[in-house]
């Protein structure tokens, strides 16, 4: 029952957005698209940092890997596949190809996640932070030197396939997948690693397996977000995936709450809207972000919302309590 309700809500929302998007102000439209992409990034990073308790700071690297991979597929293979599928209606064929390319981009990121995760996550401690920090830079430098994807000039000519419907669809997939994992015994195993890795092991949990699993799923969705980003801007540039971008994603989940899905989305919203409002101070971004991160870690390490989920029930309860007092 509850399940059907959720599916129905998703369908209605996507339908609603598709209709709405036709007469939306293009500026608002763009902010909504970025909000959706940022939500995917934040929710997936939260699986790694918030739920598993591992410290990854290379999400922009996975975003770049998936983005460039699916963009390259579109640029070099898109036309060919479209011709092969010419017996289908054009929109349908285009959509199917885009879906497959996005998933391939996500899988490419996930494989890179495995390659980094298996050696570093076997160890306890902050090796992952160092490895992901290095990885983020390596990916960027690799792209700078890859001529097939434009190198330092950027990678133009990517077909514009991303729209708000696609972004909403993937944001929901990311939320539902991560929500359902977390609410299963697998998710409790993942959370127990964050709580106490030694105790978790002695409960019979293969902690390395679950850390690598969470890390790769996180990388997968970062890759998807990268693909959506690429096919929205129609052009990629390595400068979009600097360490600063990773910090920004980290800030979303630190603001919203480590270990809260709704908190991640809230954080993604703030960090999509706020920079727009503070356009004049763009050059101060680095300082503002770093300061906010440090202050949050010191003052409210559990985030503005903490590791709870926001729900209508909670809001209602909260309001009622306020009313009585």
């Amino acid at each position: 029952m509850r399940r059907n309700l959720l599916t129905l809500t998703i369908l209605i929302l996507i339908l609603f957005l598709s209709v709405l998007s036709k007469n939306l102000d293009p500026y608002i439209y763009q902010i909504l698209v970025f909000f959706g992409i940022n939500s995917i990034l934040a929710v997936s990073l939260n699986l790694i940092n918030g739920f598993t308790g591992q410290f990854s700071i290379g999400h922009a690297g996975f975003m770049a890997a998936g983005g460039y991979f699916s963009a390259a597929l579109s640029v070099y293979q898109g036309e060919k596949l479209l011709n092969i599928l010419s017996f289908l209606p054009k929109d349908l064929a285009q959509g199917a190809i885009f879906l497959v390319f996005l998933i391939l981009g996500g899988l490419f990121s996930a494989i890179l996640g495995l390659i980094i995760g298996i050696p570093t996550l076997r160890l306890k401690g902050d090796y992952l932070a160092i490895a992901t920090l290095g990885f983020g830079e390596i990916i960027r430098v690799a792209i700078l030197n890859l001529d097939v994807v434009g190198g330092p000039r950027g990678f133009p000519g990517i077909p514009k396939l991303t729209d708000i419907t696609w972004v909403t669809f993937w944001a929901f997939i990311a939320v539902v997948v991560i929500y359902r994992i977390i609410n299963s015994s697998h998710g409790r195993a993942i959370i127990s690693i964050r709580e106490d890795e030694t105790a978790s092991e002695s409960m019979g949990i293969n902690t390395t397996y679950y850390k690598v699993l969470a890390f790769s799923i996180g990388a997968f969705f970062a890759g998807i977000a990268g693909g959506l980003f690429a096919h929205y801007l129609m052009m990629l540039h390595p400068s979009s995936f600097t360490f600063m971008r990773s910090v920004e994603i980290l800030l979303m989940i630190v603001l919203g709450g480590l270990g809260s899905i709704t908190g991640s989305i809230f954080g993604a919203f703030i960090l999509t809207v706020l920079p727009e409002a503070l356009r004049g101070f763009a050059h101060l971004r680095l300082i503002i972000y770093s300061l906010t991160l440090i202050i949050m870690m010191l003052v409210r390490p559990s985030g503005l919302i903490g590791n709870r989920e926001i729900s209508f029930y909670r809001i209602f309860k909260f309001l009622r309590r306020k009313g009585i007092n």
Binding site: R3, V177, R180, I181, N183, S184, S185, H186, G187, R188, A189, I191, S192, E195, D196, T198, A199, S200, E201, S202, M203, G204, I205, N206, T207, L213, N307
Partner: protein, 259 residues
Amino acid sequence: MAVLEVKNLSCAFGGLMAVSDLSFEVEKNEILGIIGPNGAGKTTVFNLITGFYLPIKGSIIFNGKNLVGMKPYQITKLGIARTFQNPRLFKKLTVLENVMIAMHKVYEASLFDALFSNRKYIQQESIQRDKAEEYLYFFGLYKRKDEIAENLPYGEQRKLEIARAMATNPSLLLLDEPAAGMNLNESLELVNLIATIREKFNLTILIIEHHMEVVMNICERIIVLDFGMKIAEGKPEEVKNNPRVIEAYLGKEVKGVIH
């Protein structure tokens, strides 16, 4: 028949021999006590048995299988559970979740069952929850099931740690100073609990303990460690009067005063 055979086990940290050439056996259904002054190497023995430390020498045979080189989670799956000297609960999770996590190894729903929230997932979730509630009921913690673990009083936290260890369905249970921080009444209650779970779950138990009233009450046999070596072994009353044991303890007492 020996359930656990420890043979010539040695473990070193830098130059320090924390355990040296230790051998002992644990019989099925027995309660074996390990005592000895602080730093004697008792906890290290538990860490070796459960795979957290790697010995430099020796073997640990559990039901005919050598555990040396296995990972902690694999050893748990073979049926050895432990508690920690300083409780290591999943502090921010509920009492029920703490126990459910211990039952993960028998959870049959795959990640995909969970993603599609299918019938198997729903069934496995409710099996896990019901079983965990049964354990909590048995340990007298059922009323506390939705409380956050760290909010329990200390005595109940220790009890929850035992409940959680039992939920992994072990045949050998290792208890590391379960009565630490308990008053006389609480530790006698603990003695009863340990005796009861041995009967009910057909357990073999290894227990590290300082409280003599606990050790004398429930251990059928005791081994005494000092500086990583076994200095005595036998029935509680034999060990209590052993001059080497008295010396080991007295020696430490004097040092304890000085520091």
